[in-house]
């Protein structure tokens, strides 16, 4: 790096305005508020049971013993697998079905289309807590209690996802679809081969929201499962606190390991969100 000349330094100094200082200060405070719990989570996961209430951020004698204990516990790996399986399955299901319905509502003219869309949207007004009892009764009568299917079925398709995908599909120019129609493709192939690749940013957003929502889901999995082998990670981790006393160091270790897949999913998909591929094939 070359040294700055005095005029460049003067120019930089002029850029530091009071408004900018306030914004930066607020952003730093916001950032610290966000990251502090995360740092304490990692910090506590490196402490022994006796050090948990010592609130120093950097542990006096850091240890990976909690990680060894948690990862060595067969139940934890089972819960990790359960959560992964459920989150991935529900995400794939949402991407497929929400897109299919969203595309149909956006691109086909048929009687009752608007009514169906409104009916789907209206389900967004009903809070989850109100739905839990009907879900439970349904699961109970259909024998889905304490099964993967029981945990997954309420989220296999969502009104939000359908709405999101419909809005994005409306932005896909009809020319693309008509060109494919003239080229001889059937409607399903047009959706899959032409329309879907054009809404990759929306699919990525939907996938991230769905995966995170299901990875962290606690309430419904807690209600619908009874056997510990079927617990999801959040339900399993919470059971650390229920056995005898609250084992914060183990809870934090489980939570720390539990953040890894969410980070991976976000890092894998976030670049697609910002990449607007759709208009590249149209007039430049």
């Amino acid at each position: 790096m070359t040294a700055m000349t005095s005029s460049e330094l003067a120019a930089n100094r002029r850029d530091i305005r009071p408004g900018r200082i306030i914004i930066w200060t607020l952003l730093v405070i916001g950032g610290l508020i966000m990251i502090t719990p995360l740092l304490f989570m990692f910090s506590t996961s490196l402490k022994t049971a006796g050090q948990v209430y010592d609130l120093r951020l950097i542990p006096a004698s850091p240890t990976f013993a909690n990680y060894v204990k948690v990862l060595g516990d067969g139940r934890f790996m089972q819960w990790f697998f359960n959560s992964t399986f459920i989150a991935v399955t529900v995400t794939l299901s949402n991407v497929f079905f929400d897109s299919l319905v969203g595309y149909t509502l956006a691109k086909f003219e048929f009687r009752g289309r608007y009514f169906i869309f409104l009916a789907i949207l209206s389900t967004l007004m009903i809070p989850t807590e109100m739905l839990v009892i009907p879900w439970y009764l349904m699961s109970s009568q259909l024998g889905w209690i304490d099964s993967y299917w029981g945990i997954m079925f309420p989220g296999m398709m969502t009104a939000f996802g359908t709405f999101l995908m419909k809005q994005f599909f409306e932005g896909v120019p009809n020319d693309f679809l008509e060109a494919a129609r003239v080229d001889g493709l059937n409607e399903f192939t047009i959706w899959w081969k032409i329309a879907m690749p054009m809404v990759v940013p929306a699919i990525s957003a939907l996938a991230i929201f769905t995966f995170l929502g299901n990875w962290t889901a606690f309430f419904w999995p807690l209600i619908v499962t009874t056997s510990k082998e079927l617990y999801t990670l959040p339900v399993g981790i919470s059971s650390f606190s229920a056995e005898s006393s609250i084992q914060w160091e183990l809870i934090m270790t489980g939570a720390a390991i539990g953040t890894i897949p969410t980070l991976v999913v976000f890092l894998l998909l976030q670049r697609y969100i910002v990449r607007g591929v759709m208009l590249a094939g149209l007039k430049g």
């Binding site: 120019p173 020319d175 693309f176 008509e178 060109a179 494919a180 129609r181 003239v182 080229d183 001889g184 493709l185 192939t189 032409i194 690749p197 054009m198 990759v200 591929v277 759709m278 208009l279 590249a280 094939g281 149209l282 007039k283 430049g284």
Partner: protein, 355 residues
């Protein structure tokens, strides 16, 4: 290759009628251009031929078979869209090859076809590129390539050059024209640009408000327009039209004098049409129409100057040689030769004949 026949073709959207029972025969291998202003039904007609719009009435035949109820893919036609509609997530080669998606050809045969099509259109070096890395003209060529690769019975073009700049448009016009000569495939081409229609078509179909006004060769339409609309629409700059009267074989036109002799046998109000290139700024009155008017604007184009002047209460456009640029506000004399006047009935706007 195939002949396309439209017999009483109708398109209705609810209660409103967009196309009013049009009849037309497009011969095998012909280059037919539908031209008209926005909303005249030309694109709707093209989309009915493609199968992208349901036909409300009448019969559509492609190659002697009625295809009213057939899906687009069963008609074996190819279409090029205004916005190109090339898929952004595929390379040029994949885009061209997509025309063969449903074809039963072997992979090697498909690759051969893609390479051949790419070579014809000068895209052979771009086959691995994505559309985002192409210019407008190249994208349009890819769209044409996707249509060509399938060897369809007819090409349908929906205002394909509208998004290109003037220079590229002129170049692509010639490319499409020479492609047609080489392939000999029937082409139906829709545009609102009369220059495109005149330069490319074997046959022009002029449409307005869902009706066909006139069908003919570019020269036919230019020389013998059947009504005021076609007369104005075809030719650039468009034809001057000035109100006048004919009584007892004499033409009365304010600020002007007719010394050309016989007129169409009619009496009453007429519209006198004269093309700007036939109305010349000159001091030599000659045999036909002569007039004087005040210059209101001039457009020096280099090779010629377009002179806008007030004549009989209308602004008309005349031409002068390039180096002659009359001053605005000055009075100039203009003349048109015998045979260059078009006369229309002022009430019906139908052609009465030439003078």
């Amino acid at each position: 290759m195939a002949k396309i026949e439209l017999q009483g073709l109708v398109k209705e959207y609810g209660k409103s009628r967009a196309v009013h029972g049009i009849d037309l025969t497009i011969e095998d291998g012909e280059f037919v251009v539908f031209v008209g202003p926005s909303g005249c039904g030309k694109s709707t007609t093209l989309r009915m031929i493609a199968g992208l719009e349901d036909i409300s009435g009448g019969v559509l035949k492609i190659g002697d078979e009625v295809v009213n109820q057939r899906e687009p893919k069963q008609r074996n036609i190819a279409m090029v869209f205004q916005n190109y509609a090339i898929y952004p997530h595929m390379t040029v080669g994949q885009n061209i090859g997509f025309g063969l998606y449903t074809s039963k050809l072997s992979k090697a045969e498909k690759q051969k076809r893609i390479a051949e099509t790419g070579a014809i259109l000068g895209l052979e070096k771009l086959l691995d590129r994505r559309p985002a890395a192409l210019s407008g003209g190249q994208r349009q060529r890819v769209a044409i390539g996707r249509a060509m690769v399938r060897d369809p019975v007819a090409f349908l073009f929906d205002e394909p050059l509208s998004n290109l700049d003037a220079q590229l448009r002129a170049q692509m016009r010639m490319e499409i024209k020479s492609l047609h000569r080489r392939l000999g495939t029937t082409i139906v081409y829709v545009t609102h640009d009369q220059v495109e229609a005149m330069t490319m078509a074997d046959k022009i179909v002029v449409m307005k408000d869902g009706h066909i006004l006139q069908v003919g060769t570019p020269t036919d339409l230019y020389e013998h327009p059947l009504d005021v609309f076609t007369a104005r629409f075809i030719g650039s700059p468009s034809m001057n039209l000035v109100p006048a009267t004919i009584e007892g074989g004499t033409l009365s036109l304010a600020d002007a004098k007719w010394a050309g002799g016989a007129l169409p046998n009619t009496n009453g109000k007429v519209l006198v049409g004269v093309r700007p290139h036939d109305l010349v700024v000159t001091d030599d009155a000659g045999q036909g129409l002569s007039a004087t008017g005040t210059v209101v604007a001039v457009e020096p184009l280099g090779s010629e100057t377009l002179v806008h002047l007030q004549l009989a209460g209308e602004t008309v456009v005349a031409t002068a040689p390039g180096r002659v640029v009359p001053a605005i506000g000055s009075t100039v004399s203009v003349a048109a030769e015998v045979g260059s006047l078009y006369l229309f009935d002022a009430a019906t706007e139908k052609a009465l004949g030439r003078a």
